[in-house]
Amino acid sequence: MIQKKICMLGSFAVGKTSLVARFVHSIYRDQYLTTVGVKIDKKQVRVGDNDVTLILWDLHGEDEFQKIRSAYLRGSSGFLFVADGTRRSTFDKIHELQENAVSAVGDVPFVVLVNKSDLKPEWDVDAEALGAATDRGWTVLETSARTGEGVEDAFLAIAESMLRR
């Protein structure tokens, strides 16, 4: 069994916690996010012949009032950056978050999740922005916490990226 630490990062209220709530094993309450600033969840995926345990560090959404504790990023093998498709600013914020992550732990695999795909007509993140991100070599997946669309794929994608390293 291989274990990997993954940090989930994103702006405030992009739906990180909701995104994984139905797909992970959790023993801690959401209040940990607002107190300690992180909640630990666990997700097991199978990549090829390998069972991989993903220890998810769901970090409190960064906003103007609260910054992410960089100590939490240490030792992370991968990142899930989450943006809200209906809020362009959260997508743009990912550039900054990714740079911070690189400076904290180096160049590690990551996947960008644009959430709320069930509200796609209302999206503020256009194809051009998504295309630009893809052109930079980012893996961008559309997800929906409400329908569950793309969530399993996201975990699989980050697990595969990490094992390829």
């Binding site: 291989i2 274990q3 300690v36 630990i40 666990k42 991989v52 939490y72 030792g75």
Partner: protein, 579 residues
């Protein structure tokens, strides 16, 4: 060897010039060259090298092992792999070789487990029947937790329930062991959360990189954390562990780092190599229970129990005696005519009661006897007095006035009243003397029936019906008249008795009458004669308590030839007597 051959010319192709030199060298250095050649051959020959090495290898290993553990660390994978390979190839040989040791080890393990069970059972039994055990059983009932759990918790000094080996940088769980009593949640997540909390604490208080949270307290649980360069060991402890246990953790961290430096250094998420650290971590799963108090000797136990029993009995007797004494004193206090001013209970000697007592009150000895106190048990010092208690005053009135049984008394606030029935003389006497009874300020007897007057009235009615007939113009008794006169004499006898009992005399009038056939003078004379004849007939002299008046009424419109009796009922009336 890739270097130049010392036998070759250093100049290479200048053969002509070096030939003499070589010859000279051969002459001068032939023995050394031969030895060099032999050494070269020895070095090039693996068989020779192995032979040489075999000579110094044991000593070399011993020297290195004394210096540090590098040799051990280096050899462990090779030896482990070799053993695994051998086991795969020839498991039977290994089984045969291990059998003697394995059998002994299994027996030892079973014996140890049984020993723990017996010890645990002993502890439970001991605690079940002790006072402490009863207390714990009550606690178990109150909290709804199993008794065994309460016993364990209360007799536990400390117990290491879980030990985590956590990769320091990633917070990933490398290994986790737990005691049978622990109920661990997801160890992977606990490991990560523990790391997060440590990071949080370090960030919050701006601690240095090497500083970190080393201890957490949660209720009766404590988490002690020992940090190494690559991994931390966290022990979850129930109870209070000695500080020396920190040394155990520190040694464990050091040992794991020493033995598994390479896997720790190269950790990429695969925790399999750290299975090897389980024994080290399991050695931290220790527990200490409270040592039972030294068992007292049976003699001391019996003496203690006897003393306790004696104390309990003495206390019970004291409480019972106090209770009965309070009851006896209360009974005395509630008794009419007795006033208790002091009641003293003595352990050694008779109790004492001081106060006042009306002579008419109930004997206090009888009251005390009802509560179990004999004459010798209580010394009474009761001074006589006249009680104004209603019960005593009525009793006193009855005694002083010598009241008949048919008389009832009532007393309220100084006023004595009588009811029932009594003869006239007693009624008169009571009116005279009742105000002088102690405690009585007024006396009333409106509800008292005068039995003497009632009796006189009844006999007077009967006597009025007696009419003694006479013949025309005659004052002689005819036989029929004599018979009536006798019945009249009987009634007079009864009245005489009543008058005697009342202590007075009663006035009776014998009235002679005549019809209108004669003259008035004749009628007056003959009616008088007839009255005298009856007086003679009934023998008025025999009635000492009756006074007789004889009257000749003569003839009236209603009269006839008879003699009748009239009783003056008021002649014996007490009221009249008073007047």
């Amino acid at each position: 060897m890739s270097g130049p051959d010392p036998r070759e010319s250093p100049a290479g192709n200048d053969t002509g010039a070096t030939e003499p030199f070589n010859e000279l060298r051969s002459i001068l250095l032939a023995p050394e060259q031969e030895r060099l050649r032999q050494l070269q051959e020895r070095l090039d020959d693996p068989r020779h090298r192995a032979e040489d090495l075999s000579g110094v290898l044991p000593e070399a290993i011993a020297i290195r092992a004394r210096r540090d553990d590098r040799l051990l660390v280096s050899m462990r994978p090779v030896v482990s792999e070799a053993m695994r390979d051998s086991m795969r190839r020839d498991p039977k040989s290994f089984a045969d070789a291990l059998f003697p040791a394995l059998g002994s080890a299994i027996r030892k393990a079973i014996a140890a487990t049984l020993g723990e069970m017996v010890q645990s059972l002993n502890q439970v039994i001991e605690n079940t029947f002790s006072v402490r055990g009863l207390k714990w059983r009550l606690e178990a009932m109150r909290t709804g937790r199993p008794f065994a759990e309460i016993v364990l918790l209360r007799s536990l000094v400390y117990r290491v329930e879980q030990v985590f080996l956590v990769h320091r940088e990633t917070g990933l769980l490398l290994q986790h062991v737990e005691s049978g009593a622990a109920a661990a949640k997801d160890a992977d997540m606990a490991s990560a959360m523990l790391t997060a909390i440590r990071d949080f604490a370090r960030d919050t208080f701006d601690a240095g990189t090497e500083d970190s949270l080393n201890s957490l307290n949660i209720g009766d649980l404590t988490v002690w954390i020992e940090q190494g360069p690559h991994a931390i060991v966290a022990a979850v402890i129930r109870g209070t562990a000695p500080l020396s246990f920190k040394d155990v953790l520190r040694e464990t961290v050091e040992r794991i780092h020493l033995e598994q430096l390479e896997p720790l250094d190269d950790f990429q998420g695969d925790a399999t190599p750290f299975e090897a650290s389980r024994p080290a971590l399991e050695s931290c799963l220790v527990a200490q229970y409270a040592v039972p108090e030294q068992e007292a000797s049976p003699v001391l136990k019996i003496a203690t129990a006897t003393l306790a029993l004696v104390i309990v009995i003495a206390l019970a007797m004291w409480a019972y005696a106090a209770w009965t004494w309070r009851g006896a004193v209360a009974a005395l206090k509630s008794e009419p005519g007795i006033v208790v001013t002091e009641a003293e209970r003595n352990w050694f000697g008779a109790n004492l009661v001081e106060g006042l007592r009306d002579p008419l009150s109930k004997d206090p000895r009888e009251i005390l006897a009802l509560h179990g106190y004999g004459s010798a048990d209580v010394r009474l010092d009761l001074q006589p007095f006249a009680s104004s208690d209603a019960g005593i005053v009525t009793k006193r009135a009855r005694e002083v006035l010598q009241a008949p049984d048919a008389v009832e008394f009532a007393f309220d606030n100084g006023a004595l009243s009588a009811s029932g029935t009594a003869p006239s003389p007693w009624i008169a006497r009571a009116r005279e003397f009742a105000p002088f009874v102690a405690g009585v300020r007024s006396y009333a007897d409106e509800r008292l029936l005068d039995t003497t007057a009632a009796a006189i009235k009844a006999e007077a009615e009967r006597l009025r019906a007696v009419r003694i007939p006479f013949a025309l113009g005659s004052a002689e008794l005819v036989p029929e008249a004599a018979e009536v006169a006798r019945s009249g004499a009987g009634i007079l006898s009864a009245l005489d008795t009543i008058a005697r009992d009342a202590g007075g005399t009663l006035r009776i009038r014998i009235v002679g009458q005549a019809d209108a056939s004669g003259t008035d003078a004749t009628n007056a004379r003959i009616s008088r004669l007839r009255a005298e004849a009856i007086a003679l007939a009934v023998n008025t002299a025999q009635f000492r308590n009756l006074e007789f008046d004889l009257q000749g009424l003569g003839a009236t419109p209603e009269s006839d030839r008879t003699v009748t009796f009239q009783v003056d009922e008021s002649s014996l009336s007490p009221r009249k007597a008073n007047q």
